[in-house]
Amino acid sequence: MIVESNTVRFDSLTLDSGSTLGPVDVAYETYGQLNAAKTNAILALHAFSGDAHAAGISPETGKPGWWDNMIGPGKGFDTNRYFVICSNVLGGCRGTTGPASINPATGCPYAMSFPVITVGDMVRLQKMLIDSMGIPRLLAVTGGSMGGMQALEWAVSYPGRVVAAIPIASTTRHSAQQIAFNEVGRQAIMADPDWNAGDYYGKQPPARGLAVARMVGHITYMSDDSMREKFGRRLRGKQDFSFGFDVDFEVESYLRYRGSQFVNRFDANSYLYITKAMDYFDLAYKQPSLAAAFEPAESRFLVISFSSDWLYPSYQSQEIVRALRSRNCDVAYVELESNYGHDSFLVDVAEQSELVRGFLASTFEKAQ
């Protein structure tokens, strides 16, 4: 399945911070067919470093989408039955307006003059996209990690527009530990002299800082088990230690490789803005309780967590479920067994697919 990326432009977007941004481009892809009644649309929401290319093969890069194992004909999100939409988030660097975009007022990239954004802003922009497509109600909003945050935000901000929400390996707010890892990433970028207070476009980007940030990120996405299985203490192309600081261990080689690869596809300032949006996200912000925050929600929920995910541990998903249960909302929850840590929702999808398939089928039937 070869897919094409589309872009739509909106004149302006009002942000949670009070400022306005415009014009705003949104890059998105779609898979499957919207039915005549427009009742089979699913919005897939990407995680921190994802993009609009969720499924199929990109003609540009030749690469499969980030959830290609979940979205497609006969897959968990079955494109023979459903119409799946995925857009790049606000602040991103893969087609949607972000800090690397040109500020029409100056003719230069926004860089650090880009306004600080929130998950709420991302979702507000997605709603404009869905409106522009003439879809009255989404059958489901779904995503893992930051995608799950957006799904939760959709459910409480636009309750009448969402039949079901499927937040996976996610949370209603970052813990100190999650903020801490993000801060390490941001500091790695900002400590790189090439960052230059964000003004590096057309010059040498802060590749070393961004690579270190990505290395830290990758550690948090895996588990002790999966790293032991994948790397152990194996040496990289040598029989003995080099007694130096070149790559000795496989895991060092892997992290360096992933770090350097990331630099080619991701903008350092987007890293700063999007991680900050995740850290600010708190569904119960200025609310007496999480249960109160869920008061407007009308949708069904399927909440999934993974046993080895220590970055977004199951207790955070269980907090969502407990709050929803206290409101007597329709919520299903399961912790899936997996060794792949936070990455499980992207790589260990067999059971997840079955859950999603059944949940969507019954949701679709009830909604007709």
């Binding site: 206290s326 007597n328 329709d330 299903a332 859950l355 059944g358 949940f359 039937e365 009830k366």
Partner: protein, 208 residues
């Protein structure tokens, strides 16, 4: 959605292979809000949703079973029944079902209280340890009884709080509960006399 129909108990029995389900499906009124504790694969809730248009929710400890239940479209929460109901508001359900699970809970009395806090009525089905086969097995073998209903070795059994019909009625009285209906089953037959001796499975409908 299938229109609610009066279920035929024989059909339920044959469909689900569980005698107590037939009784439960008789009790539950159409359109009711139902919570099924220890709901397994969610087969009862699925059936009740399809045939009696109930709004069903389930709680199940086994992750594999929760997966199968969700995959069949039933809203099930993976969790423990002991203490797992605390999040639900009072009277959130018309019926709270505990089918063949009371004897597996750590705090059966607390579970019963919680059931009647979150639900208006509780339906409790359990294997009757007072059945004559159990008594005979114990008397003749001198060992922890093993029968078709209690097939486990004592060291492998999930049944940690075995009880009889009389035991349950006594607890209900102690808790000040009203027993609105009671059904006793042996095989596919209903038992009317000497239930504590002849019933293999008891089903109680209780309210506070």
């Amino acid at each position: 959605m299938t229109a609610p129909t009066v279920p035929s108990p024989a059909f339920v029995r044959d469909l689900l292979g569980r005698r107590d389900y037939a009784i439960i499906s008789e009790i539950v009124t159409p359109g009711a809000r139902v919570l099924d504790l220890g709901c397994g694969d969610g087969e009862l809730l699925e059936w009740l949703a399809a045939h009696k248009d109930v709004k069903g929710r389930g709680v199940e400890k086994s992750g594999a079973r929760v997966q199968r239940a969700i995959a069949r479209g039933v809203s099930v929460f993976q969790g423990d029944i002991d203490g797992g109901l605390a999040d639900y508001p009072d009277r959130a359900f018309d019926y709270v079902i505990l089918s063949q699970t009371l004897q597996e809970t750590v705090y059966p009395r607390a579970v019963l209280r919680e059931m009647l806090r979150v639900g208006t009525r509780a339906i409790v089905a359990f294997p009757n340890f007072g059945h004559w086969r159990m008594r005979l097995s114990m008397l003749t073998s001198g060992r922890a009884p093993r029968t078709a209903l209690f097939p486990y070795q004592w060291y492998e059994s999930p049944n940690i709080h075995i009880l009889t019909v009389l035991d349950f009625e006594e607890l209900a009285a102690l808790e000040g509960l009203t027993i609105e209906r009671r059904y006793f089953l042996a095989g596919h037959r209903k038992v009317t006399l000497m239930a504590n001796l002849l019933a293999e499975v008891a089903v109680f409908l209780v309210a506070r």
